[in-house]
Subunit: 333 residues, 2 copies
């Protein structure tokens, strides 16, 4: 089992693999480029290769086929590399000044399609809705486990977004602790008595400068303090803490706006690597009010340098007003 170790300097946590270790030769990149995995290698996410993943936790099948056999449309398995296990209780250990806890949690992979060369941004609205439905079902199931305190849904597409496999997939990481990554959410609500994300939504509608598109239930904006060039957020206009609370109607309009924006983003930015990240409130623990779920869509056009990885202060060469205007113009055509 891996360990979650406390980073005393940054007051954060790091997941450290302790059972296995990658050797230097296991990393595909060097200073000049990437040795892309040969296309001949077997893809564990392709239909017919079900035995190369862990056992199926859930799937969407319309043909009554059996688990771990072909016939699926979406398939959820555990991520076999991270080593999180949802067994036993959280145990904090101390060694001298250091603290760690066991890798209690669950790390799931949602294989979004049996087809190797069809990507998320190629999907129809109906297909995107089926993926979101699977994510919602897994989110709510994991949230029922009292030991889980936070659930991060994310997608890595392309090498520069940290993907190790090409085949289209998303991931769900259910953690036994709450990351301290968004302290401003609770602080703002405590100070102002209002939800920060609702206030951002109002502010953006008022100025219009950073709004890309809006539909019945969602708005797409390039955030005021975008960390990444051409970053965009999809914000639900109804205040709700958890992605798992999304209604069926909202799922449909989320799927529409996702398909619409993502196709254009991939076209405008010349087929970039990208992350899609769903942020929700903590669960099964005490926390202050102010959370409002939202989605970050992050094209990975530049690689974080020493200054970003140490200070956390990002340098963004594209103002979000310019990014939003470009997306707006292209989507209006």
């Amino acid at each position: 089992m891996p360990e979650l170790r406390r980073d005393l300097v940054r007051d954060s946590w790091v997941l450290i693999a302790t059972d296995t270790a990658l050797k230097p030769r296991d990393f595909p990149i060097n200073k000049n480029g990437i040795e892309v995995n040969s296309n001949g290698a077997l893809c564990p996410f392709c239909e017919g290769n079900e035995s190369h993943t862990t056992a199926e936790l859930a799937s969407l099948r319309k043909d009554n086929s059996l688990p771990d056999t072909p016939g699926w449309l979406i398939r959820t398995v555990t991520n076999k590399y991270s080593g999180f296990k949802l067994e036993g209780e959280l145990k904090l250990s101390e060694t001298g000044i250091y603290q760690s806890c066991n890798g209690l949690g669950q790390h799931e992979v949602i294989i979004e399609t049996p087809e190797h060369n069809v990507e998320f941004h190629h999907f129809s609205v109906e297909k995107i809705k089926e993926v979101y439905e699977m994510l919602k079902a897994r989110y709510n199931l994991l949230a029922d486990d009292e030991r889980i305190k936070y659930i991060q849904i994310y997608k890595n597409r392309g090498l520069f977004a940290g993907a190790s496999l090409e085949h289209s997939h998303s991931q769900i990481l259910a953690l036994p602790l709450v990351p301290k990554n968004r302290p401003g959410i609770e602080a703002y609500c405590k100070k102002e008595g209002r939800c920060l994300i609702c206030d951002i939504l109002n502010e953006e509608r008022k100025s219009g400068k950073r709004v890309v598109i809006e539909n019945r239930d969602f708005i797409v904006v390039c955030p005021y303090a975008s960390r990444f060039p051409y970053e965009a957020w999809i914000i639900p206009t109804r205040h709700a803490e958890h992605f798992g609370e999304i209604s069926d109607e909202e799922l449909m309009s989320l799927s529409e706006i996702t398909a619409n924006f993502l196709q254009e983003m991939v076209r405008c930015l010349n087929d970039p690597s990208y992350n899609i990240i769903i942020n929700s409130a903590p669960i099964n623990c005490a926390y202050n009010a102010g959370y409002h779920w939202y989605i970050e869509i992050i094209p990975r056009l530049i690689i974080n340098s020493g200054v970003e990885i140490t200070t956390g202060i990002y340098m963004n060469p594209v103002a979000p007003e310019i990014a939003a205007a470009m997306f707006r113009e292209n989507m209006a055509e």
Copy 2:
């Protein structure tokens, strides 16, 4: 002038370029790889191309040659892309719920050598010492300006470390505010009454598991909660807050241990991209005790995925005990 915008969600700052904006085609990477700049392009950091940089702020010249002409060994100029300017005062502006301040500060590039194909890890101990001396002189000069609150020294080597130019260089970013990236430093000292880095040093010496090498004034360890595989820190054994306080004797032993470790690291990890980062205390403002300067050496073998960029929880597939043992064994040979 660029803007520093407050990220209300993360309680951090982002530097946003507002005068110019990169277009999608200006980014060299797409999902599959990198279009490396053609080698035929003129390198602004090569000897003879001095007119392609901003005016020289400082240089090491042994031949009495004039500024901005050939004959230099090390040359410091401003980074012309970030747009920081050390002029006027810090002005905080508010627009609705948002806050920003002007890009008051200085961003310097230290061109470490006139030769294009000689890299930092190829340098002799004497040459490394000359680079560190330049960094020390610039650090102390910038620290004399009351408007500067924090100085980050860093080096990006290779595409995966965020370098945009191949020619060997370091950077100094002098900021008008203190990043909140290391809250554990002050908190630990407040709680325990001791310096965290001194305690880490003692703990590591006691266990020995994560120690790589030690010399008269410095120790190299792979930190307990390493965020990156094969990450290492060079820690001065004498407690001092600022890199600028380093003595001439210590500069010599730092140069020795840097050359020694870095050559081995680059060899063991098959010529990786890497960052070298020098962390010091804040300056010209009130802060709590506990800072102790140290250097992070970070090979960039993997690209941060969606989970790292959003939660700040890193997944490291190589335990630091294993990394340290590998470096130790190779260095003993």
